[in-house]
């Protein structure tokens, strides 16, 4: 697995919703090798505060044009700075990093569960999965957010012609309640499924529990603070069961962010 550390040029920077931006970066080696679920570490400026780079999942990659993009919401100083980067400016970029979603080829139905800003890696995964689907193999998107306007990536999913089921906490769109309720329902349907999920860790824990109960293979992309993104600081530890039945810490940035849900020790 090769990683690249390079200055990437901003080729497009668009508002994609309330507080939501898509950033398209020119970085051919990253665009060519990125796999869905992987992320990049970005550094818009040399600042002491914010100090760390931040990880962003790859939303889509176009190997031919040598570009990839990320989707982010402006939350605090870092993303504010990021949002100020004009087209033509450079952003120091490291990637692609981490593990990726692996299509479970035995499944008849692929259920992608996205919570809020967790959607981008699943958009990328869906885009790469759809062309490989065999007859009788389906894909379903379950997406949840607090409110209608916080739903992310719907355009991307729709462009793939995917079936989308939506949940919002306040009922402003789709089912009123948690996206995990939609998952519970879907898992009741009698079809062999595999689940791929990204969102807040609390959501993923419920997803993992539902899948474990149903014996459904499940991959989750975990959120963790990531000072380095390349495996040296051990800051992004995730507690896992080791093959020999023990407990140890794995790095969300190298062995993750995508883990098999059954490996993870949820606490």
């Amino acid at each position: 697995m090769t990683r690249y550390e390079l200055p990437a040029m901003v080729v497009e920077h668009q508002r994609r919703g309330a507080n939501l931006y898509e950033l398209i970066l020119h970085a051919p080696p990253i665009a060519q090798s990125a796999t869905p679920g992987q992320f990049v570490m970005l550094r818009p400026m040399r600042t002491h505060a914010p100090l760390w780079r931040r990880p962003y999942s790859i939303l889509r990659a176009n190997p031919d044009k040598g570009v990839f993009s990320v989707l982010y919401s402006v939350q605090s100083a870092f993303t504010e700075l990021l949002s100020l980067k004009p087209i033509g400016s450079m952003i120091q970029t490291l990637g692609p990093l981490g593990s990726y979603f692996q299509p479970v080829r035995s499944a008849r139905r692929h259920i992608l569960v996205a919570g809020g800003v967790g959607a981008p890696p699943l958009c990328f995964f869906a885009a790469r999965l759809v062309p490989t689907l065999q007859a009788g193999e389906q894909m379903v998107i379950l997406e949840g957010a607090r409110r209608d306007d916080l739903l992310v990536g719907l355009d991307e999913f729709r462009a793939l012609g995917a079936e989308i089921r939506i949940a919002t906490d306040d009922g402003s769109r789709g089912y009123k309640g948690f996206v995990t309720d939609l998952l519970a329902e879907a898992l009741n349907e009698p079809i062999e499924s595999a689940v791929y999920a990204c969102g807040p860790n609390r959501m993923l824990q419920v997803v993992a529990r539902l899948c474990a109960a149903g014996g459904v293979p499940c991959q989750v992309s975990l959120d963790a603070p990531m000072p380095c993104g390349i495996g040296v600081c051990l800051g992004c530890a995730v507690k896992v069961k080791t093959p020999d039945g023990g407990i140890w810490y794995r790095r969300a940035c190298v062995e993750g962010p995508v883990f098999w849900a059954e490996e993870v020790v949820w606490e």
Binding site: H48, Q92, L94, C236, A237, V238
Partner: protein, 304 residues
């Protein structure tokens, strides 16, 4: 004329003064694809303990203004695994490997040091004195002159290798501690390690680290680390010093050298810019050249 970047820290001789700090560069090999490790002055390993340590539960790190807190809990595979699996690969780089030693008892420090001394390819031992002493209710060795003296003396008896004592900044006056370390046989002093801090999440009303408190590092602490280094330099003009704390540019490193450091270590900033250690080396060279100095030695300690 190319300035001479070599520095002599007594028996430890380096081709340039820029090392990477313990615990911030993995075992070193993790960076192989991103930078040319052969150009580093030295690599300090993450701190090694006698037996493997799982480390602390997450969250283990949190960003703070111009810094970060860490409570990794010395996660490492233990000194034996290091000697078996990592050292020989590190040795091939040709870059001096300094092994950092951690312990919660004198016996543990000594045990690790003995094993390292028997191995081929360890250039020096760095004693991490910021470890909590089990016998003294968790008081850090490096905050007490007696404990410092005991730990350094014990390891000194156990190894022939150059011995670096890495001091804690968590003190009112670092001079007595530094003197104790040197008296007990430390060849070199490294200052400083992290400072204790906490961070709270106002919204969840919880500590941001599972272990509650952690060590503060990064640019935020540079003035503090430089203060301690400067004071030790005045008190112990003959002892080689390594400066560490908040370095994120060549200028930062030069400042430590001007205050009296023979060499510097880069910690937290490696995360943000994996190539930084090499750039700092180049930056020091460019600085010497631009200002007409022929060596690192020529600028050491000129600010006092």
């Amino acid at each position: 004329m190319t300035p001479d970047l070599r520095v002599n820290l007594g028996r430890l001789q380096l081709r340039n003064p820029v090392m990477v700090a313990a615990g911030t560069f993995g075992y070193g090999l993790e960076y192989r694809d991103l930078i040319d490790l052969a150009q580093l002055g030295a690599i300090v390993t993450k701190s090694l303990t006698l037996t493997p340590r799982m480390g602390n539960p997450p969250p283990r790190v949190v960003e703070t203004p111009a810094g970060m807190l860490n409570a990794i809990g010395l996660q490492n595979d233990g000194v034996e695994a290091f000697l078996r699996e990592t050292l020989s690969r590190l040795r091939e780089l040709g870059t001096p490997v300094i092994a950092s030693v951690a312990g919660e008892t004198l016996e543990e420090y000594v045990g690790v040091a003995v094993q390292l001394s028997r191995a081929e390819g360890v250039a020096a031992i760095e004693l991490n004195l910021s470890c909590p002493n089990q016998a003294r209710g968790g008081l850090e060795f490096g905050t007490d002159p007696d404990l410092t003296m005991q730990a350094v003396a014990a390891v000194r008896r156990a190894t022939h290798l150059p011995l670096i004592a890495k001091l804690s900044p968590q003190v009112s006056d670092i001079v007595p501690i530094a003197c104790a370390a040197v008296q007990a046989g430390a060849d070199i002093l490294c200052l400083t390690n992290t400072i204790l801090g906490v961070a709270v999440d106002a919204h969840t009303r919880q500590f941001r680290l599972a272990s509650k408190s952690g060590g503060l590092s990064g640019p935020a602490i540079k003035p503090i680390a430089q203060y301690h280094l400067w004071r030790v330099r005045q008190a112990l003009p003959e002892t080689p010093l390594i400066g560490v704390g908040g370095i994120s540019s060549a200028d930062d490193a030069i400042e430590f050298i001007l205050l009296g450091a023979h060499a510097v270590q880069i910690g937290t900033a490696n995360y943000v810019q994996p190539t930084l250690a090499l750039e700092v080396g180049q930056g020091i060279e460019a600085y010497l050249r631009a200002n007409g100095f022929d060596s690192v030695d020529a600028i050491r300690g000129v600010v006092y």
